[in-house]
């Protein structure tokens, strides 16, 4: 889903870039308000963790395998603002050091994955969630799925707006595959969260981003 350099037109790059800059700016402000100073390394750990988790492959069937994307997982545990920063950091590293996604397309990639995927999944999940302590299984699968599909949809629309292809050609296969990928993402996240809930359920309250004294507000 990482958009490479050269695919999007200049106006699309400019618009998505501006949106991402605004998004990151707000996220930095919100996170600084909520986050204790000594929790910042923890965001880095989360970034490194998602990076490493992406290397673990789950068997999907027919010889293929998939991996966790992590936007939704991060947003459940960190809250949407801090997770937007963590994901942006990951995307920047991927594009600079691994050639995964273009450097000028970073704006678009951050917009798709750190903003759209992150927030759509998070807020859908909030609709399903009933109480502070528990988690909702169907909500996690739906949220994981939506986060992936929404990002793919945004990418398809950006490609269309750049007049590279027609919407009807790009969209159906993109949506089809990403719905499947999204269900996988939702299932993996569900297993992860259920394990975390079993072992350390306090983490589901997003203690990571709450300042001391705001615990379980």
């Amino acid at each position: 889903m990482h958009i490479p350099d050269g695919l999007l037109s200049l106006p699309t790059l400019a618009v998505t870039g501006a949106a991402s800059v605004g998004g990151i700016g707000t996220a930095v402000k919100k996170t600084k308000e909520q986050l204790d100073d000594h929790k910042i390394p923890l965001l880095g750990v989360m970034g490194a963790f998602i990076f490493a988790a992406q290397m673990i492959n789950f068997p999907v069937g027919m010889g293929t395998s998939g991996h966790l994307i992590g936007a939704f997982f991060a947003s459940i545990l960190l809250g949407p603002w801090a997770s937007a920063l963590v994901l942006s950091a990951i995307l920047i590293i991927q594009s600079f050091f691994f050639g995964d996604g273009g450097v000028l397309a970073l704006g678009a990639n951050i917009f798709n994955m750190a903003v759209i995927a992150n927030f759509s999944g998070y807020y859908l999940y909030q609709l399903f969630k009933r109480n502070e302590r528990g988690y909702s299984s169907s909500g996690i699968v739906a949220g994981g799925c939506i986060s992936v599909v929404a990002a793919a949809l945004a990418a398809a629309v950006e490609i269309f707006l750049s007049r590279r292809s027609e919407l009807m050609i790009v969209l159906p296969p993109m949506l089809f595959w990403h719905i499947i990928i999204g269900i996988g993402e939702g299932l993996i996240t569900l297993f992860l969260i259920s394990y975390i809930a079993k072992v350390r359920s306090d983490l589901l309250l997003q203690p990571v981003v709450n300042k001391e004294g705001h615990h379980g507000k």
């Binding site: 350099d5 970034g47 490194a48 050091f97 450097v103």
Partner: protein, 254 residues
């Protein structure tokens, strides 16, 4: 060789970053195959001039290449235009178009160009200088700190993953064949979850040990000296070259 490399290295990282960004911008604006090949040639020359071993570049390109090649195969079928050939799969047939093939080749070259110039940049610039460059370009301090912590912790967490993987294999764990195998899913998710807890605890410990050694979150940015003409000339050269390329591309000479 080493002498040559050292003569280029001290160029200010901000200027190098700006030069690379201008170059990439130029590359995505160019629409002629011959010019794109020329740009790849220029990047290769830069790599040789900097004295980077080609092996390192190839090794680092390896992560990006599969995706690029996949794109080269997919895109021809997604652009409407004059049909070139078609492939029948089951009851549907995919039609590759002339425009599609041309566009995918161009996209491939553009992406390769941008990836190569970035690899060149990151290979010749220490991480710390690159961070300073990004800071100069107004990337928020908090984001840069997250990036540097991500880098620091990645190896540690990766080692934890490998450790658990080894432990599982030693106990005879085998991955199931498909996503339907919930036992496999559960085990893998549990191991990821376990690493997550370890990472959490470890990050706290690391933070306190860093704090004990004087880390207090002040930005690591030191004032860089005044830019000399050589620093600016890198960005300027890139700018001139890019303008020249775009000029030719728009039919300036012909």
């Amino acid at each position: 060789m080493i002498l040559l490399r050292d003569s280029v290295k001290p160029v200010d990282a901000t200027m190098k970053l700006i030069a690379s960004l201008i170059f990439v911008l130029g590359v995505i604006l160019i629409n002629r195959l011959s010019l794109l090949f020329l740009c790849i040639g220029v990047v290769l020359c830069c790599i040789l001039f900097m004295g980077l071993p080609i092996g390192i570049m190839l090794r680092r390109l390896r992560t990006a290449l599969p995706f690029l090649c996949f794109m080269l195969l997919i895109v021809p079928f997604q652009i409407p235009g004059k049909p070139l050939f078609s492939i029948h799969i089951g009851f549907t047939s995919l039609i590759a178009t002339e425009q599609g093939v041309l566009f995918s080749l161009m996209l491939w070259l553009k992406s390769l160009n941008s990836i190569m110039i970035l690899l060149l940049l990151t290979e010749t610039t220490p991480l710390k200088e690159l961070q300073q460059a990004l800071y100069t370009l107004r990337v928020p301090d908090l984001l840069l700190q997250i990036i540097s912590f991500t880098f620091r912790y990645f190896t540690i967490i990766h080692q934890e993953f490998l450790r658990i993987d080894r432990a599982q294999r030693a106990r005879g764990f085998q991955k199931g064949k498909s996503l339907m195998n919930t036992y496999t899913l559960k085990i893998i998710a549990q191991s990821i979850g376990h690493v997550f807890f370890r990472a959490l605890d470890r990050s706290e410990r690391i933070y306190w040990s860093m704090a004990a050694r004087g880390y207090n979150r002040t930005p690591m940015i030191k004032k860089t000296g005044p830019l000399c003409y050589r620093d600016c000339s890198v960005a300027l050269a890139s700018f001139c070259f890019t303008c020249f390329m775009i000029w030719i591309d728009k039919g300036g000479i012909l």
